[in-house]
Symmetry: C2
Subunit: 140 residues, 2 copies
DNA sequence: ATCCTATATTGGACATCATCTAAGTCAAGA
DNA sequence: TCTTGACTTAGATGATGTCCAATATAGGAT
């Protein structure tokens, strides 16, 4: 993620303590925090950071294509996925909301026949799998 | 949709004017209203119906498996899809939010290899295509 | 090293979507 | 027709996200 900060600086992004802390929080594999979770983790490193800055910065990272915004059925809050580099999809636990990145063996775009496009110019597709993670098992 | 009311009555569902009106609003092809849209359309037929009843009834219909709750990236409010009978996916216009039901030529479940399941018991999958509808064209 | 200014941050108000509550109302079986 | 448990209601409350005016600051210019 440190290269992320480098890249952004190259784009004229002003590097502030708040933005650096948020980028640090987003560093890692299978990271899919909500804005509030990012804020809580950022506060642990920089107590005076505001919620507005977290929303602002996440929004900018999304606009810059460095972070993906992810919405799931049932889940109320959006989640933020720093793995914007390689295309992937998600597997979500309907018990605890845990999310894993998954990679498909076929391109889902190919599953939509021409006759089902209703004149749309189709530009993207998201695939989300739902199930129970090992911890949640078959409990309700 | 009248058979829906029959089915629900068979399940001990108490048939009230509010519920009947909501079921009527949800009748049709490619219907994907938000709760507020359902409320507005229901008010046109039954002026004193409350928002709470709309939320209650939609929640019950979802729990009974008669209506699907649909969330899309960017779209803030959940939408409700009465086409719960035949499996399908969605195509969403990123301009106006219009949504069409689409049917895929391959089962998306097959695209997730065993090695990408992380011990989850996978039970479902949603696929959502994004693009521009003919009315919105390529305008921003 | 210091200054300058465009840009970023902040707290709190506001907006939207959804849920909850307690009191009143009603569908439908006895 | 009566009774009752389920349904509806208005409005409060909660969760999430956006906006704003005032203040602070990064980083280039001096």
């Amino acid at each position: 993620m440190s290269d992320l900060l480098e890249r952004l600086r190259g784009r004229g992004w002003r590097l502030t303590a708040q933005r650096r802390v948020i980028a640090e929080v987003l560093d890692g594999e299978h990271v899919h925090y909500t804005a509030d979770e990012v804020h809580a983790l950022a506060v642990a490193r920089l107590p005076e950071i505001s919620r507005a800055s977290v929303y602002n910065t996440l929004g900018e990272l999304v606009a810059l294509g460095e972070v993906l915004e992810v919405t799931t059925e049932g889940g109320r809050a959006k989640r933020y996925d720093p793995n914007a580099h390689r295309p992937h999809q998600h597997l979500v636990c309907s018990g605890c909301g845990t999310m894993r990145d998954v990679h498909l063996v076929t391109d889902p775009m190919g599953a939509l026949p021409e006759g089902e496009r209703f004149g749309f110019t189709v530009s993207g597709v998201t695939v989300t799998y739902y199930g129970r993670c090992p911890e949640c098992g078959s409990r309700a």
